[in-house]
Symmetry: C2
Subunit: 182 residues, 2 copies
DNA sequence: GAAGGATCTGACCGATCGGTCAGCTACTCT
DNA sequence: AGAGTAGCTGACCGATCGGTCAGATCCTTC
């Protein structure tokens, strides 16, 4: 792994666990075994490092959400949900960071891009009804999944990946089933 | 409202929205219209201010959780859930902060006290079965509710309190109904 | 009016922050 | 061998951080 990749991975882990503003470039450099100057050689600024750390996840999320508006029957919906859960599992650190720290990281372009995606997703899952309970079901599913996938591991809970995936799909399906099919 | 109370309220709001480490004492002082020295007169340190800001919520949570082990039938369980939702609504800022930033604020005594409460709550709601899905249902309910109650308002969603309460109780009941009654 | 405690402030401290810059090293290409 | 470039570093910068301290101000109590 190149130094640049290593820095990106370390930065992502630290930003997620300790928080963006609580993580210093000095600490990232120490964890990577290089100097702070070296970090700033590979990434023009701390914000650029943040951008590099999470934009792959946002790119992937854009791809997963691409077919959103073409979803028709419940099978389409179920397939999409599985893809989305796979996305959550693959990029759990990035998602957790966006969910938890996104609101305090406005003005960072990639964060705004992600926010737009979440709004689009919310509008789809709320069945265009914009009812309170529909919106809350979506919010709980998204926020809850993100919480479970990352924060909860702080409490020492560690689960096999495939079981986690199955349970997550099951619970989210239950939460996000449209009114018409409930 | 005394200066001390005002500082506590402002600090809580800022810690929640911007993050603990991203919030400077200088900023809290400015928002309150006093000097930084005055903040440090009322609270011995930034950490003491954090403690003062969230410990009322943790005290209340301890009271709400007191009857946890005596819960018998499903009616008890439902009543407890309603009390807990009321607690979430009353202390949404504190809960959101603990959920989102708790893991990065270890070594703060009040945070550890709250963590112990969450573990106790999780053990109850997971039906002592410790199965993966039970634990995940609890985690999604708790993390999701916290997310909806605070973070989601960033997206401009604002709901009447009583409707929010009813929807939250409904969704959480659904998520936390024990296996035996499903 | 004197005394005393509560409240508040500006000046100041060392540490750390993100970031700049000149220069060192090692490798590639001609 | 020489030129150029990518990778990396230590020294340094101004700004801001949390925190200390001596003293000003205000209000109560005698």
């Amino acid at each position: 792994m190149s130094t640049q990749e290593e820095l990106r991975v370390i930065a992502l882990a630290e930003f997620t666990s300790a928080g963006y503003s609580a993580t210093s470039l000095q600490r990232i450099a120490e964890l990577a075994g290089v100097s702070k100057s070296s970090v700033l050689y590979h990434f023009a600024s701390k914000e650029h490092l943040l951008e590099a750390a999470i934009s792959p996840a946002i790119d992937q999320m854009e791809m997963v959400l691409a077919p959103l508006e073409t979803i028709g029957n419940l099978d389409d919906r179920q397939r999409f949900l599985e893809d989305f859960v796979d996305f959550l599992l693959m990029y759990r650190l990035e998602v957790n960071m966006f969910i938890n720290q996104g609101p305090s990281l406005v003005d960072v372009p990639v964060i705004e891009r992600a926010s737009a995606l979440v709004v689009r997703l919310a509008q789809f899952f709320s069945d265009n009804s914009q009812s309170l309970e529909e919106n809350m079901r979506f919010g709980i599913a998204l926020g809850g999944a993100a919480y479970m996938l990352c924060t909860a591991s702080t409490y020492g809970l560690e689960f096999p990946a495939d079981e986690t995936r199955a349970a997550l799909i099951s619970i989210m399906s239950e939460l996000l089933v449209p009114i018409s099919a409930r």
